[in-house]
Symmetry: C2
Subunit: 352 residues, 2 copies
């Protein structure tokens, strides 16, 4: 059941995305923001947050979940905080507009924290902390998902009560920022879907069946009745669980959203920016980050590894390679992209 994969240039996929979302009512600016995020994720190898989302976003526009052109506005603020109502515009558009808010406040007071309301899927979390780092600040971010997407069991439990909640941070360095981005679950739902498609077993220690027993059968996760993904860090899963809860506290509770109730919101995004100028200086901070990189990566590799990397290094290598070789897209996804583009009445550059 392995699906055929073809390579597409980032530029081709970008043009397809732009005409698709323009045809679906997005402004030139909004379409560019959304497409850029998805292309960057695909370039970095984060395919689950890449161009395969073209189809989902198109469907969500048709269903009314995504409202292109919706106003994104600050509904409450203090000198160092803001609640931003993203109005169900594209999640990336909301997040994009939150960046100058959080960085501007951090520039003035030293640190800022901004949360979203009524946000759609914001895409790769690392992208948003990388933006903060490109403002010469330290960026922290978390993103949760609404109840219908809960797939992760609490530690000691067998029923899904959390999303695969992600935590990210980024720090400026001499080259591209150092970017860490990880979920608080043992496996992503996208990887489980892939296992279910291909008939491959799930690695051990990742999921439970509905009775709470460990399993490697992806169908036992989907049910019915459904199983659950284990929290990150098993057998020390209480740690991943506690971090997953933090993501709910920051993304939901702080924004006034009840975690256990179904909401129209898809993602609850929390962004924190810290200005090194408030503590030392941005230059000194960047040097200390470089020293940290040099010191940590100077460790001899363990058997089976060639080198010690910093977070985000692998993604940057994949990006450099895919810029040359192209982005692999399963033909079945490409066909679905073409289908939604046709349905949207988009004039595709390839087919025109």
């Amino acid at each position: 059941m392995e699906s055929r994969v073809e390579q597409f240039s980032a530029e081709t996929l970008r043009q397809v995305g732009l005409v698709l979302f323009r045809a679906l009512g997005a402004s030139r600016e909004e379409a560019a923001i959304v497409v850029n995020e998805l292309i960057e994720a695909s370039l970095m190898g984060v395919d689950s947050h890449g161009v395969m989302r073209y189809v989902q976003y198109a469907e969500e526009i048709w269903s009314g979940q995504i409202k292109p052109g919706a106003v994104v506005e600050i509904v409450r603020q203090t000198p160092s905080t803001a609640v931003v109502d993203c109005g169900f515009n594209f999640g990336a558009v909301g997040a994009h507009r939150m960046i100058p808010v959080v960085c501007g406040k951090a520039a003035r007071t030293g640190v800022a924290c901004v949360v979203s309301r009524n946000s759609n899927h914001v895409g790769r979390l690392g992208s948003w902390v990388e933006r903060i780092a490109s403002h010469n600040m330290l960026g922290l971010a978390t993103v949760n998902v609404s109840k219908s997407k809960h797939a992760v069991a609490p530690f000691g439990g067998r029923e899904a009560r959390l999303g695969t909640n992600a935590i990210a941070w980024a720090a400026p360095s001499s080259g591209r920022p150092i970017v860490f981005d990880a979920s608080t679950a043992m496996i992503s739902e996208g990887q489980l879907r892939l296992c279910a498609h291909t008939g491959q077993p799930v690695p051990e220690g990742r999921i439970l069946d509905a009775a709470g027993h460990p399993t490697t059968d992806p169908r036992a996760f989907y049910g019915p009745p459904p199983g659950a993904i284990l929290p990150f860090g098993m057998p020390l899963g209480h740690k991943g669980y506690g971090l997953g809860l933090l993501v709910e506290v920051l993304g939901a509770c702080l924004a006034g959203v009840a975690v256990g109730e179904e909401t129209a919101q898809r993602n609850g995004l929390c962004l924190i920016a810290i200005s090194p100028d408030a503590f030392i200086s941005a230059d000194q901070f960047r040097r200390l980050i470089e020293d940290l990189r040099a010191y940590v990566t100077s460790s001899a590799p363990a058997p089976g590894y060639e080198e010690v990397l910093m977070p985000g290094d692998l993604e940057q290598r994949t990006r450099a390679r895919r810029l040359v070789e192209g982005i692999p897209v399963p033909i079945e996804i490409w066909d679905r992209i073409l289908a939604v583009a046709r349905q949207a009445g988009a004039k595709l550059p390839l087919t025109s």
Copy 2:
């Protein structure tokens, strides 16, 4: 080699600590702060950060590492940030004085971030976020250790380049705050020492020998040549590694400290306080945290578990039990406490 353990009441241990640190030159207030932290950690079952530290702190006062009475002062600040020079007073005294700074700033601007310089061992990290939560705020904290205590390998490496760096958060709820506190390593150095003492093997997947091979022999960690502790989350250790790095970025880089250089500082503490009043209201936030607790703990337990708990629940149960039954202290540690007390010329309440 199992050492005999005796139960002591918290009150007895408190009195011993107070006269010890008073005899060593601490003011009544400083001694009370330090002793209270260690007693609370012991009550909660976090024995590695409990009364066994009496001996270490006494020795550090004699060596000049801890300077009782040293001035703790803000050396740089903005409306939402501060760098606090702890002057090598007790770490707990420095941290204790950072709390009103971070909470006061967060009350005014919505969020605040405060880092330490010249700090000694701050003890149980969870204690400091719990203080922030008791101000009706969300508390986040990280703590790193200086180079000589590096024991954790970076992901893919075999040489220690990080401490067992901890991350903590706490949120106010209807009862005591919810408190999460975890290291970013697969095992604590204290647990390894215990294994080495008792001759028990280390659980699998926790440590590497000097050649970078997995081992369960605690002596292979101590060397020479030394091995290393694996980052939290193995086989997904890149996540624990990235979180451990964040702790260095917040605790060292932001405070102007080079991670790869030996410093007199023991702990680099970063405290972040977020005021829910800036986003919703403290009351609504507390209700949403209670809802989160109810929703998450409503999951049926997995086989082998009796219930789903929130972070910190176990520590509170241990505390309730030890308040009644007493705190177990290995006789060998008790003897060492008595020895330093004698050396300090302290008039012990038990022996007077």
